[in-house]
């Protein structure tokens, strides 16, 4: 099971993302279409850096704790998923906070009026 250790971290973040989405009723028009555009750019930038850093041996990954599936020869598939799931989580958090503020802003205004 150790080979799924990195994947487990990603699963944890994904579960948080789904939880936040449901609890805060995060919705946005054309969410996935917009996310696809955003994450294509993020992936391009960070996979480039990741590739470079792995090649320069700045960081490496424990082969016993990753699945061993690699992209572009040296990047573990977990890293690719990381650069998809973390931006997704960031956007969901951002939208949830906007919802939350919108929900309590009218109350604050009411209180100010009184």
């Amino acid at each position: 099971m150790a080979e799924f250790n990195y994947l487990g971290v990603l699963l944890f973040i994904s579960v948080c993302a789904v939880g936040v989405t449901l609890v805060f009723k995060v919705r946005a028009p054309r969410f996935w279409r917009t996310f696809l555009i955003v994450d294509s750019i993020v992936l391009a930038v960070y996979l480039f850096w990741d590739y470079w850093a792995i090649e320069k041996k700045i960081w490496s990954f424990d082969p016993t704790q990753t699945t061993g599936i690699k992209v572009l020869g040296i990047i573990p598939i977990e890293e690719v998923l990381f650069f998809i799931i973390v931006p997704l989580m960031s956007i969901i958090t951002y939208l949830a906070l906007i919802n939350l503020i919108a929900k309590y802003k009218p109350l604050a205004k009411d209180r100010a009026r009184r």
Partner: protein
């Protein structure tokens, strides 16, 4: 170039893109900093899990050596740059034709 350099360049690039190229100017909005502050503890949690279990191994000569919750402090900069770039791009590419968006831009 070490990870320390890379992390600083990542932040500089993200800041430059946000302010002058993408022009979402997330850095000037309170909601961005609030989002970052909320994500930060979770970043520390996952980073510390990844590094203390040595799932990700950093070459010692590539980092300053100061660590926060097990992870090199460079990770904080790298994470900051990724959140900034992501949200900046989101604001740039999200659909603008709905009324709720108009209300939002008026409010900000």
């Amino acid at each position: 170039m070490t990870y320390s350099d890379l992390a600083i360049y990542a932040v500089l690039l993200a800041v430059m893109l946000d302010l002058y190229i993408i022009k979402s100017q997330m850095l000037t909005r309170g909601i961005y900093w609030l989002t970052w502050a909320l994500i930060l503890p979770f970043q520390l949690l996952t980073n510390s899990w990844l590094t203390t279990n040595e799932i990700v191994i950093y070459s010692p000569e590539q980092i300053i050596g100061r660590r926060l919750a097990g992870a090199p402090i460079e990770d904080l900069l790298f994470g900051f740059s990724m959140i900034l770039l992501t949200l900046s791009l989101w604001e740039r590419f999200k659909p603008r034709d709905t009324t709720s968006d108009k209300e939002e831009s008026k409010a900000s």
